[in-house]
């Protein structure tokens, strides 16, 4: 039990936050959200008592910050263990270990979901970028009118919802723990106070920055994914193409080139043996792509966390 019991909701939340200091910022956000729901409901259900009076009893009902923190820590460990995809079995032969690890990426579902995420980022990037640029421009333009204030609030609120949805998407595709509850805007306050708080909150700005960054990053990720996929698949399927050509299944108007860049082209292998070599090459390219996807997604998840969750958490 802490020596100085919290006298207000904000104080309690601060103590809970420091009790969870070493935990994942996403977990902290969820825990604070739950505590706030309970505490505000508890205070609201005792209208004739002061916040300090209600808070006095909290340690014996809701639990002291340390106890609550311990409960979240325990449950998180259990849930994480239950949801974790089992690690691939350790390779028995050390000689082939490196090769197996390199091609083992084909068995890793995370690599495929990461690749899927990379393909999706072009679409989400365009949506986020358009949303932020339109929202900021209209907020600035409407600022002189009364409607500018609710518009700005709604814009930031939407940005937070997008940040939460993006977090869920990232957790689903890369496994990085992201918040499951949004940031709570705090107790009801006047519009001007709300706007002031939003403008002062670093996370508001880092969230907008992230949403803007998603366009260039999305273009980059999408390009890498599509280029890797097309080249890798074309090489890997070269024997099929050769066979199909032999059987006359490929219409003559379709180019038989493996690669065609600005007029320079590399012809398709004509013999089946050459095509088999191409296939090995293609499989290596695909493996490299999946490794790259896994790495990029992991790096991107870290970036997302540092911009969407950590500031102010």
């Amino acid at each position: 039990m802490s020596a100085n019991a919290a006298r207000s909701i904000d104080e309690y939340l601060k103590q809970l936050r420091s009790a969870l200091a070493d935990e994942d910022p996403a977990l902290i956000q969820d825990a604070l959200y739950d505590a706030e729901e309970y505490l505000r409901a508890e205070v609201a259900s005792h209208p004739n008592r002061s916040e300090a009076d209600v808070l006095e009893l909290i340690a014996s009902t809701y639990g002291a910050p340390e106890e609550v923190a311990a409960a979240y820590r325990d449950t998180e460990v259990k849930v994480k263990a239950a949801l974790k995809t089992p690690a691939p079995p350790a390779t028995a032969a050390p000689a082939s270990g490196r090769l197996r690890r390199f091609f083992g990426v084909f068995m890793d579902t995370r690599a495929y979901t990461s690749l899927f995420y990379m393909l999706l980022t072009l679409a989400t990037g365009i949506i986020y970028f358009t949303f932020v640029v339109t929202g900021l421009a209209l907020s600035a333009g409407l600022a002189v009118l009364v409607i500018g204030i609710p518009f700005f609030l709604a814009f930031i609120g939407m940005a937070r919802v997008l940040a939460l949805a993006e977090g869920r998407l990232i957790e689903g595709t890369t496994g990085e723990r992201m918040p499951r509850r949004p940031v709570h805007p705090g107790p009801p306050a006047g519009w001007l106070n709300r706007i002031g708080d939003m403008l002062k909150d670093v996370r508001t700005w880092t969230t907008l920055l992230y949403l803007l960054l998603m366009l260039p990053l999305g273009v980059l990720y999408f390009t890498i994914a599509v280029t890797g996929l097309t080249i890798g698949l074309r090489f890997a399927l070269a024997p099929v193409v050769v066979l199909a050509g032999d059987f006359g299944w490929i219409p003559p108007e379709i180019s038989s080139h493996v690669l065609e860049i600005d007029g320079a082209s590399y012809g398709s292998p004509q013999s089946f043996i050459a095509a088999l070599f191409c296939m090995v090459f293609g499989v290596v390219i695909l493996a490299l792509l999946l490794h790259a996807a896994r790495g990029i997604a992991r790096g991107h998840a870290r970036l997302a966390k540092s911009l969407l969750v950590e500031p102010g958490a």
């Binding site: 009902t61 809701y62 002291a64 106890e67 409960a71």
Partner: protein, 119 residues
């Protein structure tokens, strides 16, 4: 006598029981409940010293929902953050039946030794 031992024992016992109790509460309820309401129902049911702190039910609720035993929906609230209302799923009901069975067996087994009816 130091009661930290007693508290640790209670905590170990609660590890699985909280989930069972939460499923039972939601199964008996005719309407969807949110965290605070569930906490208050538990508080009313146990007089005197609480068996577990209400703050510990939230992470368990979330874990149950993640396992598909509960569904939830979010309803905005004036008093604070939007509330998440939970409802038990068919899968949750099946699990509750199974867990209740295990609980009855366990209770009977433990009682046979503690109450000494077996000797």
């Amino acid at each position: 006598m130091d009661d930290s031992q007693a508290r640790k024992f209670q905590k170990d016992l609660n590890a699985g029981l909280v989930a069972l109790v939460l499923l039972a509460v939601l199964e008996r309820s005719t309407e969807d409940l949110y965290g605070y309401e569930i906490a208050k129902r538990l508080q009313r049911a146990n007089e005197g010293e609480a068996l577990f702190k209400e703050g510990t039910i939230y992470p368990v609720l979330r874990a149950l929902a993640a396992a598909g035993l509960l569904t939830s929906r979010v309803v905005p609230s004036y008093a604070g953050p939007a509330r998440r209302y939970y409802r038990i799923t068919d899968e949750g009901r099946a699990m509750l039946g199974q867990w209740s069975q295990i609980w009855r067996q366990t209770r009977g087994f433990v009682d046979r030794f503690i109450e000494g009816t077996d000797s």
